[in-house]
Symmetry: none
DNA sequence: AATGAATGAGAGTTCATTCAT
DNA sequence: AATGAATGAACTCTCATTCAT
C-alpha cells in the first residue's frame, strides 16, 4: 500500500498577526535559507541575503547582530520546517505500517520537490560537528523524530503488523539513518535514491513477509 | 599541528619512488584534508594549509595553481582513502554474509576511529551538489562501491544465504544510504549510530531469518 | 551608568525654570561628557550617549542636529564647569598670595577628585588645533583666566607680597602652562604631579623669599 | 661635576643596512604620524596611511597586523624622536644653567618648528589614560627625562649656580609640567607660549638672582 | 623549488543620520 | 517629544593570487 498522499495546502506556519518587525526578520531568514541552498555556507554573503530580502546590509544587521545570529535563525527555521511537515496534518487512525509509509513518503516527496531543505540540512549537519549550539538543536529535533517513529513501530509490533522480534530502537536508528542517507544520495543520484523498490524492501524488512532463504 | 589522522604508510600504495615534487604535493593535500575536517570548507585558508605543510602560500600556489585545484586534490585523496580501505586486506573466500559484514564493519570502525574522513566526505557531498567535477568523481566512486556490494548480494542470494526475493539493486541502494546516513548520524549521536543491534537488524533483513509477524 | 562626576546643584546657576526640553539637552551633554572622559572622542558613539541619557539616537538628533553640535554643547558645558568652580565661592579680601594659592589649590583638588574634567579638556585641546570654533572658545576662556590671575599678581607686586621685578605677563603664562602641564602629568604620574613641594617652589619663585645662590 | 653624560652615540635608529622590509614599516609609521598630527586619532584611517606611504591597505596589514599595532609603532617612533632630539648635538662641558637653557631652548624650537610632534604627543597622552601599554612607554620616557634634568639641577646647586634651597625633585616636576603646559598652550596661543620673558622668569626662579620682595 | 612582498576585490560590521509615525 | 526602522558611506581586516628574485 504505497499511496502516501499528503495534502500540501495547510502548511503555512506563520500566523497572520506577527509583531511588526518579525516579518522582515523572517524574510531575511528565508533569503538566507535560499542562498545557503544555492551556494552553501561558503558562498553565503550578508550583502546578498539583504538584497534578496529587499533591504541593505545595514538593515540586516539591525535585525541580526551578526551573521552568526542570522545563521541561527536559519537553523531554527529549517528545523521548524521539518517538524511541521512531519506531524501537522495527521490523518488519525492509520494502521502503523500505513502511517510509517506515509511519513517516509513525505520525506521522499520533499526530497523530490523541495531538495533545498536537504541541502541546507546537510550544510547544517556539517556545521553541527563544530558548533555546539547547532548540534544541540539538531539533536533535540532528532530526538523528537525518534520518539515519533518508535511509537509507531512499537504499535506495529503490538498489532502484529511488524515482526515480533523487531528491535524497535535499532529499527528507529536504521530508519533515521536511511532517511539521512537517501537525502545525501539524492544529491548524487536522485534516480537511484528515489527508487520505489527501496520502500518495498523496507516494508519486507519490517513485516518479515517474504520468502525466507532456506538453507 | 595535529598529525594527519591517517598513517602515512598505507597511503603511498602504488609508486615507491615519487617524482621530485610529488611528496610535497601530497603533504599539502593531507594538510588541506586535515583542515577541512577540522573547520570545514568555510574555514579553509590557503595560508593555513601551506603553513601546516611547512611552506608558504606562494609555494602552495607553485604546486596548485588555484585553491580549487587543491580541493580537487583533496577530493581524489579522500576517495582513494575510501577505496583503498575497502578492498585492501581482502581475506579471500569468505561467504557472502561474512564478507558483507566485514565491509560494513570496516566502515563502522572508520566512523569510530577516523571520523575526519566522514566529515570531509560530508563537506564534499555538500559541494558535489554545486560542483559537477566533484559530483562526477563521487558518482564514479559510488558506482564502484555499488558494483562490489551487488556482486556480494547476488552471490548471497544464489548461495541461499540471503532471501530469495531480495531485490539486489534496492538492497544495494539501502546499504549505501544506510552507510551514509550512519556517518551523518555519528556526527550527532555516535552512541546511537554505532549500536550493534543495528547490524543485527540488517542481517535479519537480508537473510529473512527471524520470527515473521502473523496475522 | 556612572553618575556624572559633578554635583548637579552647582551647575544650573542662572535659570531656575528651564524651558521645556532644556533638561534633556543637558542630560545628553552630561552623558556625552562622561563618555568622552571614559573613552575619548575616538570612542564617542551617539548611540551610547543617547542610551546613557535614557533615550534613543533619534531623540538625540531631535535635540542636536549633528554630533558636532552635541560636541559643542560639551565644550560649553566643560568650560562653564571650569569657570564656575574658579570664582564661585570667593572669600573676599584675601591677600594676593593666599588668593593665588587658593586658586591653584582648587585646580589641584579638581585634578585629584574630578580628573574627568581634565581628560575631557585634553581631548578638547586636541580638537582645538583643528577646529576653529573650539579654539575660539578655549582662547576666550583662557583669556579670562589670564586676566584674573594677572590682576592678582599685579596686586601682589604692589603690596610687596611678590617680587618687585616679577614679570606679570610672563608669570601668568607660566602659571597657566604649569596648571595645564600638571593636568597632563597627572594622567601619567599623579603622585609626582600633586607633590606639595611643587607649590612651595612656586611660592618661593613668586615671592623671592629663599636663600639665594651665592657666587 | 655635570656627570649627566649619557653617550647617545647609539641613537641613530635606522642603520644603513636595515632588514629589507624595515624601511617600508618606518615609512608607514611616518605616514601615520603625519596623519595623526593633521587629523588626530579620530581621523586616522588605515587607507589614508597606506596610500600616503604609497601602498595599499592590504600591504599595511602585511606589516602591521592591526591598526593598534601601527599605533604602537607610532608611539615608539614619537618617543624616539623626542629622546634623540634632546641629547643629540651636545656641546660638552656647558655649565648647568646653560645646559638647562639649551635643553629648554631645543623644546621651544621644536614647538615652533615641528609642532606636529606635540600634537601627536598630546593625542598619545590622551590615549595613555586608557591604554596601559602606551602609558607604560610614556612613563618610561618621562622617567629618563627627569633623571637627565635632575642631574643638571643637582649639579647646578652644587656649583652654586642655582639656589641652595632649590628642591630638585619639585623643580624637575615643575620643568616637566611647564614644558608640557607650554606645548598645550602653543596649540592655542603660540605667541604667548613662546614669549622669551618666560624663560627669563624661569631663570630667576632657579637662580634666585633678582630683587626680592621686601616687607 | 621556494619565497617575501604586494595587491584587488571583497567581507562583515559600524555609525551618524533620516523619516514616517 | 519621541521612536523604530532603515540606510549610505565608510571602516578595518582578510584572502587568494601574483611576481620578481
Amino acid at each position: 500500500m504505497p499511496a502516501s498522499a499528503v495534502p500540501k495546502a495547510d502548511l503555512t506556519p506563520s500566523i497572520s498577526h506577527t509583531p511588526h518587525g518579525e516579518e522582515k526578520r523572517e524574510e531575511l531568514v528565508r533569503a538566507a535559507f535560499d542562498l545557503i541552498a544555492e551556494r552553501g555556507f561558503e558562498g553565503l554573503r550578508t550583502r546578498d541575503v539583504a538584497s534578496r530580502a529587499g533591504v541593505t546590509v545595514a538593515t540586516l544587521h539591525y535585525y541580526f547582530h551578526t551573521k552568526e545570529h542570522l545563521i541561527r535563525g536559519v537553523m531554527a527555521f529549517t528545523v521548524e520546517k521539518f517538524r511541521t511537515r512531519l506531524v501537522d496534518p495527521r490523518p488519525a487512525d492509520l494502521d502503523p505500517l500505513a502511517e510509517l509509509l506515509r511519513i517516509l513518503g513525505v520525506r521522499g516527496q520533499q526530497r523530490r520537490q523541495a531538495p533545498e531543505i536537504f541541502r541546507v540540512l546537510l550544510e547544517l549537519t556539517t556545521r553541527a560537528s563544530r558548533d555546539p549550539a547547532i548540534k544541540a538543536i539538531m539533536r533535540e529535533s532528532d530526538s523528537q523524530w525518534r520518539q515519533n517513529i518508535s511509537e509507531i513501530l512499537r504499535a506495529g509490533v503490538e498489532k502484529r503488523v511488524f515482526r515480533a522480534d523487531l528491535d524497535v530502537a535499532a529499527a528507529t536508528t536504521i530508519l533515521g539513518a536511511l532517511s539521512r542517507g537517501r537525502s545525501m544520495l539524492s544529491m548524487l543520484r536522485p534516480d537511484i535514491s528515489e527508487d520505489e523498490h527501496v520502500d518495498t524492501e523496507v516494508e519486507r524488512w519490517l513485516t518479515g513477509r517474504h520468502k525466507a532463504a532456506r538453507r
